[in-house]
C-alpha cells in the first residue's frame, strides 16, 4: 500500500504562496483558516529559505494521541483525517502538533474555537467520497478521483511534492544526486557558472538510472 507524504524542497521554494491559494480555493476553507502556509526563514538576508508547511500526516501523530474524543483516524494510504461530527474544538491537537497544522474557525461569542480544520491531503473525511456533505465539511476529495493534492500539483517550481512516499523520495534523491548536496547545491557558481556544476565535471545521464 502506498503511504502518502508531502515533501517541500527548500532549495526550490520561491515563496509564491500558490499552494496556499490553491488549497483555500479547492477546499472552500473557511475565513480565518489556512490549511497550508509558507514560512520564510531569514527573509531578505543571504541564505533565506522558504518552506511550505501543512499537516505532515505523521505515522505517530501527536494530534491523534492527545485528542480527548479520539476523532482522528488513518486511511489505508497513511493519511491522517478527523471526524468533525465528533470533534469538540478543544484545541489540544494544536498544542501537540509540531507543525501548527490544526486550525480553528472562531465560533460564536468570546472567540470560542469551532471544529478543527486541517489539511486532508485532499482526501475528504469519513462521509461518502465526493458527497455534498463531505465537500461542505472537509472540501475536495481528489484522492478518490485518482488525483494528488492540488497544492503540490500547482507548485510552479515543483518544490512541493506529494504522493506515495517511495516515489516522492525517489524524485528527491534524484534531484539531490543531480545537483549535488551541501555546498555544491547552492551559490553563484551553481546558478550562473559556465555550463553549471555538472557540465564542468562531465557528469551525464540520469542519477537514478532507468529512464
Amino acid at each position: 500500500m502506498a503511504r502518502m507524504k508531502f515533501l517541500c524542497d527548500a532549495e526550490r521554494c520561491i515563496e509564491c504562496n500558490a499552494c496556499v491559494t490553491a488549497c483555500k480555493n479547492e477546499n472552500n476553507v473557511p475565513w480565518g483558516v489556512n490549511r497550508r502556509r509558507v514560512v520564510t526563514i531569514n527573509d531578505g538576508s543571504p541564505g533565506e529559505r522558504s518552506m511550505s508547511v501543512a499537516c505532515m500526516h505523521c505515522s505517530d501523530a501527536p494530534c491523534a494521541a492527545v485528542c480527548p474524543v479520539d476523532c482522528f483516524y488513518f486511511t489505508d494510504d497513511g493519511v491522517v483525517l478527523h471526524d468533525k461530527d465528533v470533534c469538540i474544538g478543544c484545541g489540544y491537537c494544536f498544542y501537540a502538533c509540531p507543525f501548527g497544522a490544526p486550525q480553528f474557525p472562531q465560533d460564536g461569542a468570546f472567540g470560542q474555537r469551532g471544529k478543527m480544520d486541517k489539511c486532508t491531503f485532499c482526501a475528504g473525511g469519513p462521509e461518502a467520497d465526493n458527497s455534498p456533505e463531505e465537500r461542505t465539511k472537509y472540501g475536495s476529495n481528489r484522492l478518490a478521483e485518482g488525483k494528488l493534492p492540488l497544492c503540490a500539483e500547482m507548485c510552479a517550481t515543483k518544490a512541493l511534492l506529494a504522493g506515495d512516499g517511495d516515489t516522492v523520495s525517489d524524485i528527491f534523491r534524484e534531484r539531490v544526486t543531480w545537483r549535488g548536496s551541501a555546498g555544491m547545491s547552492w551559490g553563484w557558481g551553481v546558478a550562473y557558472g559556465k555550463g553549471g556544476l555538472r557540465k564542468g565535471r562531465a557528469i551525464e545521464g540520469k542519477a537514478t538510472g532507468g529512464e
Binding site: 527548500a10 494521541a65 474544538g89 489540544y92 501537540a96 509540531p98 468570546f110 555544491m184 551559490g187
Partner: protein, 357 residues
C-alpha cells in the same frame, strides 16, 4: 674474494632500500587522493547555509523565527518542539498518575471507613443545638461546591472519557457528551473565580494560623487514635484545606482563563504551560476534596448538619471544636448580660451565632 664480498654488501643494501621504499609507499600512496581533493574544487568546502538553518529551526531557544503571509498565532514558527513535551506530559504523566492518585486516596478512605468506621459522638447527642454556619456562609459553600463539581466532573470526563466512556457510549455519543462538557466547562469556568473570591472573603478570618494548630497536626487530628485534639472554629486540617482550595482555585482560574479565551494572541507555549498547571492543580484539589467530603459526611457523626441546617449538637462542638465552643458560650453570656430581654437564644435553646470578639 673482496669482489664477491662487495657484491654481497651491495645486494643487502638493495634489499633494505627496496623494503624501506615499499613501506614508505604503502603509507603515502593512499593519502594521495586526499591531497588531490584538498587542492581541488573549493565549492566542496562551502557549507550550505540551509544545513544550519534547519538545525536551528528545531531548537528550543527559538532563535530562528520565520515570517509568513498567513496571519495567525505562532504562524511564523515552523516547528514547535514543546508540543511533544506537552503530549508526553498529558499522556504519560497526568492521565496515569492522576488516576493512580485519585484511586489510591479513595481506596485509603474506603479502607479506613471499613476498618475504623465513622467517628461516633462520645456520650451521644446532648439535644441542644448551636449554630455553626450562617445562611450566607452555607450559600457560599454550596455555591462553590456546585461550580466546583460541575467543573471537576466535566474536566474529568474530558481527561478520562476517551478511555472510560468511549467503550460505553461509542464515538458519536461520547463526542456529543464531550462537546457539552467542553461548553459547560468553558462557560461556567469564569464563575469559579467568583466562587473562590466569595469563599475567601467569607472564611478567611477563621483560617489563619492559631496556637494549637501545630499540636493538632502533630497528633494527626486524632484520626490515628489518641482521642480528640483541641481546636478552634476550624482545626488545622480544615485550614489547610481552605488554603489549598483558595490558592489552588486561583491557579485554576488564572490558567483556565488563559485557556478559555484564546483571542488575546497567547501562543502555544503559554497554553501548554497553563494546561500543565491546570491539570496538576485540578487533580490535587479534587483528590483533597475526597477527604473533606468524607469527613463532612460519613466520616464524622453529626458534622453534616453544620452545612445543611447550619446547626450542630453542643456535644459535637465540645468534642471537636472545644475552643470555638467556649468562645461562643462566652459571647452568648456577654449578650445575655448586656441585653437580657433581646436575643432569643435563651428561649429557643440555641446559642447565638456570634463568634470571636
Amino acid at each position: 674474494m673482496s669482489n664477491n664480498r662487495q657484491s654481497r654488501i651491495r645486494h643487502h643494501r638493495m634489499v633494505v632500500f627496496s623494503l624501506l621504499s615499499l613501506l614508505l609507499l604503502t603509507l603515502v600512496l593512499p593519502l594521495i587522493p586526499y591531497a588531490v581533493a584538498d587542492l581541488g574544487e573549493s565549492a566542496g568546502k562551502v557549507v550550505n547555509p540551509g544545513a544550519d538553518l534547519w538545525r536551528e529551526v528545531r531548537q528550543r531557544d527559538r532563535s530562528v523565527i520565520g515570517t509568513t503571509r498567513v496571519k495567525g498565532v505562532d504562524s511564523g514558527v515552523l516547528i514547535n518542539v514543546y508540543g511533544e513535551d506537552w503530549r508526553q506530559f498529558r499522556m504519560q504523566r497526568l492521565i496515569p498518575y492522576g488516576a493512580a492518585l485519585m484511586g489510591i486516596v479513595l481506596s485509603v478512605i474506603l479502607l479506613y471507613y471499613l476498618v475504623r468506621g465513622p467517628l461516633r459522638l462520645q456520650g451521644g447527642p446532648s439535644g441542644k443545638k448551636i449554630q455553626r454556619f450562617t445562611v450566607f456562609e452555607r450559600t457560599t459553600h454550596w455555591f462553590t461546591v456546585s461550580v466546583f463539581w460541575l467543573l471537576a466532573l466535566t474536566g474529568l470526563i474530558l481527561l478520562y472519557g476517551r478511555f472510560v466512556l468511549i467503550p460505553l457510549l461509542g464515538p458519536d455519543g461520547f463526542g456529543l457528551t464531550a462537546s457539552a462538557c467542553k461548553e459547560a466547562h468553558n462557560l461556567f469556568g469564569p464563575m469559579f473565580l467568583v466562587a473562590i473570591l466569595m469563599l475567601f472573603v467569607t472564611f478567611v478570618k477563621d483560617n489563619f494560623y492559631a496556637r494549637g494548630d501545630m499540636t493538632w497536626l502533630i497528633k494527626g487530628g486524632g484520626l490515628l487514635g489518641g482521642g480528640h485534639v483541641s481546636a478552634g472554629r476550624f482545626n488545622a486540617g480544615e485550614k489547610i484545606w481552605f488554603w489549598i482550595a483558595v490558592l489552588g482555585g486561583i491557579v485554576l482560574c488564572v490558567s483556565g482563563l488563559i485557556l478559555d479565551f484564546a483571542v488575546f494572541g497567547q501562543g502555544r507555549e503559554v497554553m501548554e504551560l497553563s494546561h500543565v498547571l491546570h491539570g496538576i492543580v485540578a487533580l490535587i484539589v479534587i483528590t483533597v476534596s475526597f477527604g473533606h467530603i468524607y469527613l463532612g459526611t460519613a466520616g464524622v457523626e453529626g458534622t453534616i448538619g453544620s452545612m445543611t441546617t447550619g446547626y450542630v449538637d453542643e456535644a459535637w462542638a465540645k468534642s471537636h471544636h472545644d475552643r470555638w465552643y467556649a468562645e461562643v458560650k462566652a459571647a452568648a453570656v456577654d449578650d445575655s448580660e448586656t441585653e437580657p430581654a433581646g436575643g432569643g437564644s435563651a428561649s429557643t435553646g440555641v446559642a447565638s451565632p456570634t463568634r470571636d470578639g
